[in-house]
């Protein structure tokens, strides 16, 4: 499939169009940061805050991606995903649990009869440093095991070497494997460093057919940032105005508390609008975030600050 410029992806976009798209990737970092920090001054209180926090819960991909993950750990997490706060019936399930391919089958069993989906990281997450055949095998395995969603990583080696075509082709190939399974493409913004790179990678990933673009693996010290998310959402909007396709965004890595999560929502709300305020188009990759959100919800309802032991382990 290399060097075949007539190859088109599932969205029917040619490589030439992709090149045209990324050619205009200009971002001014200072202006970008100013806009993002100005959005962070929004004061979200009381019912607006409660509504936001409930949204955050429903948008969470509860995640564990460790070598030490066991079936037991996955069972705990799945239970929490289905019923995050047993003491509050108003709290809905989270969007998904996110695991390694080898644990997809277990996760799938545990979330059966719930709305919780199972997402698997594949394509040799987190580095992606293997031949394409291996990435396809990895992904195919997760799909065969029943994954509803696949989170892949882009080929940063190729990207930083300037081989954008290779990055694009790999995503196209993995999307072919996925077919109707929801594809999230991780840019790993901490590796890309500049906002222009993030914009380019976003557009390449979108054009290659990703259903979502996702900030980070969560395995680097630099995870998601609201600035990176802003660049990505602008790319999503531009891509929509070109194709009519609404792609989603997942932010992951480093979003620890409710305040930060609400700031993401404010940004999505004001820049993208209602359509994206839904788990179908916006997700948080989370492990520790969820507990803070649950605490804050309880605090809003009772007026008292909460201790962690009131909430079950995930």
């Amino acid at each position: 499939m290399q060097n075949n410029s007539t190859v088109k992806n599932s969205n029917n976009i040619s490589w030439e169009s992709v090149l045209e798209l990324i050619y205009d990737s200009r971002v001014d970092s200072v202006g970008l940061k100013e806009r993002v920090s100005s959005l962070a001054t929004r004061s979200i209180k009381k019912d607006s805050k409660l509504q936001a926090l409930k949204m955050v819960v429903s948008m969470c991909d509860l995640t564990t991606l460790e070598g030490e993950d066991t079936e037991g750990k996955i069972s705990q997490m799945a239970a929490k995903a289905i019923n995050p706060d047993p003491s509050d019936k108003e709290i809905n399930s989270v969007a998904a649990v996110c695991v390694y391919p080898s644990l997809v089958e277990t996760a799938k069993e545990k979330v059966i009869n719930s709305s919780v989906k199972v997402a698997a990281v594949s394509s040799y997450f987190p580095s992606g440093q293997v031949p394409m055949d291996s990435k396809i095998l990895d992904t195919q395995y997760a799909i065969d095991a029943g994954a509803d969603e696949i989170d892949i990583v882009i080929n940063r080696k190729a990207f930083l070497e300037g081989d954008y075509r290779k990055v694009f082709d790999e995503i196209v190939a993995l999307k072919e494997v996925c077919k109707n399974v929801h594809l999230k493409t991780i840019l790993e913004v901490g590796d890309l460093k500049t906002y222009e790179n993030i914009r380019k990678a976003s557009l390449i990933s979108l054009a290659a057919g990703s259903d979502f673009i996702k900030t980070s693996t969560g395995k680097l010290s630099i995870g998601s940032s609201r600035e990176a998310c802003y660049v990505m959402l602008k790319a999503v909007l531009d891509y929509k105005s070109l194709t009519g396709i609404s792609a989603g965004i997942k932010v992951a890595g480093g979003i620890r508390d409710s305040k930060d999560a609400i700031r993401y929502l404010v940004m999505i709300n004001e820049e993208m609008g209602d359509e994206w305020l839904s788990p179908d188009l916006f997700r948080f990759g989370a492990s520790s975030l969820l507990d803070d959100v649950l605490k804050q919800i309880k605090k809003l309802k009772t007026g008292a600050y909460q201790a962690g032991y009131y909430f079950p382990r995930g």
């Binding site: 200009r26 001014d28 200072v30 202006g31 001054t41 019912d47 607006s48 509504q51 949204m55 305020l277």
Partner: protein, 479 residues
């Protein structure tokens, strides 16, 4: 999909202690105006009467100038280091009472608390800090000989950034050894009068800062006073010209910071999303009540449609409403008079054939409000493309080449500021060189800093405020 509304998040007024009426501050004391005349000052967002302020007459002006003259004897003979310390002290006190100032500014003037809290008042403190350090370094400022203060300076300031304009005027005047008679605008005098309290608190010698309130008549009494050595004015070009005329043939120093109709030039190779933000900030900051507002958007034809579509979408996200709501982006128009002026010009723009876009938003019932407005299909001859509107109204013109952009940008009697948006460095420098404007913002807009000189070319006035250049506005060469 949900509809998520932000509830109101109102900054409390409890911190304020507004008096039922305010007198003048002359010679270190609050004293009744000789005129015995007062007018009500209202909040433009609710039309609620906040207090009463004095309308000063000739006797009041005489008193203030006399106090400033005796204050000058003390102040100009103080060791520069001592003057410096007073200014540092003022800066600190402003910082400490910043929330109080911010709430009062938003209440009295109508600007969003977000701006008074995060921009106006921090900049006020920063200006006093900056000029505090200059007070004992005047001899290092310019390699010209024997710079000395003018003496008594009359300062007349506008209503758009009430306390910040006071800081721009008072801080450099005091640092250079002058004393001042300052008149705030009649719709926004309250923060200046609160500043008078701060002067008291700082123990500033009597007569160094005198604040008298009043309308245009009071202003002209200051301008025409025989014992004034210098006038510093910020306001409309029309009034600026009258002041310049009044001072003809008199040995009185003058600096003018007047109107503008700034071009904000967006080239096709700009970082479009940041340019949209910059254009929005350029015209909707402070309801567009900004002399350097980027009120003429000049877009390269090749990106016109894309840009306008992004701009309209972005404008729709602007939140218009209660200035004390922390989530308000656009507050109230400062006065009924100003609202009428904006309305008339916009009506004219529509009648001329301009294509108008206004955001969908609910405006409060009381108070003075205007929806964020964008005009496209505008010809350079329309009055909305030539006259300063001083409101949240943006006028779009298009260009084909850099030469044409510069030509359109300079096709105005004003020359205060301009914006340039392109990611190509050489084009920025080429354009900036050719723009007749005192401030050029490249890939940004409406940025201010005490260290950065501000002031206009052409009919936008003369003299600079801020920075090392700002000192020269308050110094003369000893003959």
């Amino acid at each position: 999909m949900v509809n998520w509304q932000y509830l109101e998040s109102i900054e409390s007024r409890e911190i304020l202690n507004i008096r039922s009426k305010y007198t003048n501050y002359i010679g270190g004391k609050f004293i009744e105006p000789n005129s015995k005349k007062y007018i009500e000052t209202i909040s433009p967002s609710t039309e609620e009467v906040l207090s009463k302020i004095a309308i000063s007459n000739q006797n009041d002006v005489n008193k203030a100038v006399k106090a400033a003259r005796s204050g000058f004897e003390i102040w100009s003979n103080l060791a520069p280091y001592e003057r410096s310390k007073y200014l540092f002290k003022l800066a600190r006190l402003i910082q400490e009472r910043s929330r109080e100032f911010a709430v009062l500014e938003s209440l009295d003037g109508g600007k969003p608390i977000k701006e008074s809290r995060d921009f106006d008042i921090p900049q006020v403190a920063a200006n006093f800090f900056y000029f505090a350090g200059w007070a004992d370094k005047i001899d290092l400022s310019w390699s010209t000989k024997g710079l000395k203060p003018h003496g008594v300076v009359g300062q007349i300031i506008p209503w758009n950034f009430p306390l910040l304009m006071l800081a721009w005027k008072v801080a450099p005047a005091l640092a250079t050894g002058n004393t001042v008679v300052l008149k705030p605008a009649e719709t926004t005098s309250l923060t200046a009068l609160l500043f008078a309290e701060i002067c008291d608190q700082a123990g500033l010698p009597n007569g160094v800062v005198n604040i008298i309130t009043g309308d245009g008549t009071t202003g002209s009494l200051i301008v025409n006073h025989k014992d004034i050595n210098k006038i510093a004015f910020t306001g409309s070009t029309q009034v600026g010209k009258l002041i310049q005329k009044s001072l003809a043939g008199r040995e009185v120093g003058l600096t003018l910071e007047l109107g503008g109709k700034a071009a904000n030039i967006v080239y096709e190779d700009a970082a479009i999303d940041q340019a949209v933000e910059g254009v929005v900030n350029g015209i909707f900051f402070n309801q567009g009540h900004v002399c350097c507002a980027g009120s003429r958007l000049l877009i390269q034809e090749s990106v016109h449609d894309q840009f306008i579509s992004k701009l309209e979408k972005r404008m729709q996200a602007l939140r218009v409403g209660n200035p004390l709501d922390k989530n308000t982006d656009i507050g109230a128009i400062n006065s009924k008079e100003q609202l009428n002026k904006i309305t008339n010009l916009v009506d004219e723009g529509v009648a001329d054939g301009g294509n108008i876009f206004q955001t969908e938003c609910e405006l409060p019932g009381n108070g003075f409000w205007f929806k964020p407005t964008l005009f496209t299909d505008v010809q350079p001859s329309y009055s909305i493309a030539r006259e300063e509107i001083f409101g949240p109204v943006l006028t779009t013109l298009t260009f084909r080449t850099p030469d044409e952009a510069v030509e359109i940008a300079n096709n105005t009697e004003y020359g205060l500021s301009a914006g340039v948006w392109t990611e190509k460095g050489s084009k920025i420098l080429w354009t900036a060189d050719r723009l007749e404007a005192g401030v050029v913002w490249a890939n940004t807009f409406n940025k201010f800093d005490p260290a950065s000189p501000f002031g206009g070319y052409k009919e936008s006035g003369f003299g600079r405020e801020g920075g090392r250049h700002g000192l020269l506005s308050y110094l003369k060469e000893s003959s």
